[in-house]
């Protein structure tokens, strides 16, 4: 009779779950809230600051065009290339800045680790899809814009199960 009781217990468990809250995140309407502003790196202490590794953000006023980010990426994804910008910065005589191809980027964040000047951060933006490959290449000027993101949902755990908002 162990079989019968096992079957009944399984059926009971299945039926009970009809009353448990749904777990699904309804993605386009709801977006998951992330910790902080994004992944940053503190070169003095050699430690990162916890955050989501999303699209990069480039501070033009700090970038010196030293290519360290590009070199760091070379063995990994080769997503960063240095391009000329029509800007005139004192600390960036060559006027080259990173341009990132998100078709190749693996979001490891090692370029952020490599930047000694706080010029490259990562943000919480992950909605980067595009209809063309060209659309995935972000020029320095695009990278300098802070993405406007609204992320509001977190996992909440209650008596009737965990759910997203």
């Amino acid at each position: 009779m162990g079989t019968a009781s096992g079957i009944i217990r399984a059926l009971n468990s299945g039926a009970k779950h009809l009353a448990v809250k749904r777990f699904t995140l309804r993605y386009p309407e709801e977006k998951l809230k992330f910790v902080g502003d994004g992944y940053q790196f503190d070169p003095t202490s050699g430690l990162g600051i916890a955050g989501y590794k999303g699209r990069h953000m480039l501070f033009h006023d700090k970038c010196t065009g030293c290519q360290l980010c590009s070199i760091a990426c070379e063995g990994i994804a080769e997503a960063i290339s240095m391009v000329k910008v029509a800007e005139d910065w004192k600390h960036n005589k060559k006027a080259i800045m990173p341009q990132i191809d998100y078709g190749k980027c693996v979001f490891c964040g090692l370029c952020v680790d490599a930047c000694p000047f706080y010029a490259l951060y990562m943000t919480n933006d992950y909605e980067l899809s595009s209809f063309s490959k060209e659309g995935l290449i972000y020029t320095p000027s695009q990278l300098s814009v802070k993405p406007a993101i609204s992320q509001d949902v977190e996992i909440t755990i209650s008596e009737r199960g965990a759910t997203h908002g």
């Binding site: 096992g6 995140l25 992944y39 989501y52 964040g109 680790d113």
Partner: protein, 382 residues
Amino acid sequence: MRMSNIAKQIAPGLALQKVDERIMTLNVGPQHPGSGHMRIIVQIDGDKIVACDPDPGYVHRGEEKMAEYRNYIQNIPHLERPVIHDSCNILYPYCLATEEILHIEVPERAKYVRVIAAELNRCVYTLYWLAIYGIFLGHSTMFMWPTGDRELLIDLLEKMTGARVTHAYFVPGGVRNDLPANFEDVCLRQVDYFEKRIRAYADIFYDNPILISRTRDAGTLSRQDAVRLGTTGSVLRASGVDYDIRKKEPYDCYDSLDFETSVLKSGDAYARSKVPWLDMLESCRIIRDALSKMPQSGSVRVKLKPNPKGDEMTSYKRVESGRGTLGCYVVSDGKPEPYRVKMSVGSFRNLISLPYLLKGEKLGNMPAVYWSLNYWPVEADR
């Protein structure tokens, strides 16, 4: 110790020449829903498997070769690719070996953070594996529940590392960033709930009489054969061998944590499917223990020289990953790049037992036995 009779039983390779016409050759191949990224050439006679030849290599991408061209840090995002669900654990032995080569001592807090991340990642991997095991057995609820509950842990890992699956979190010398604020509370709450959830799998899955009758005595691997075939991880522990690197050769802070290894005796597909589940329960315990014993402050990373060079030496380090012992053999020739990196992965080692286990089974047992080996094709191919 005498030579096993397994060697005589398994014919060298699969005689793929023209066999008896009633024997049908099935390519449970890369496009078949029941194999993952590999091919199992199965010869069946009626409903009974007479021979089987696993054919991995469909997702081979030469990670070991690539590692010879990049320096120790740049290898990190690559080497985690084989098992992105278990990326912390697959980086773990590489980091340990590199630390030995570079002579680095890891800070105390980093050890605990590493252990927490590794255990969370083990659960993430195991849930994914369990979900596929469920769908292989035709149990669609067991596919949905673990994939849903996995979200809890992915959420935690995302808070820790900033990425949901490919974390690239471990580096030689520690981890890349400290825990976010208030992480301990969130982690405890979610892990508690998670443990409640996975205990609920028992009713519908592990105690389900149909599942038990289906996987009991399917593909039984005796203790002796498990040792001889060199299986590892849950396959080995399900056959009654108490072998866990975390206990046998404790790395980082495992020797200070309180946990048990889960061992079952019967060695069939049911036991092999239950051991990872028991492991997950232990993981919850380890995480809670580690959170309570973790130093509240301190560095989590040793600063390295830029582009560090190791000594001319070799190092072989092992950890217990979701699929068993995961060893990394690093040969250094004094250059910034490793001379040779070899991953000894559990999936690849367990694959040897597949032809042995499937021979004589029913075709209906094929998915159950195959996936109970805790096999991840991408990891085996590397």
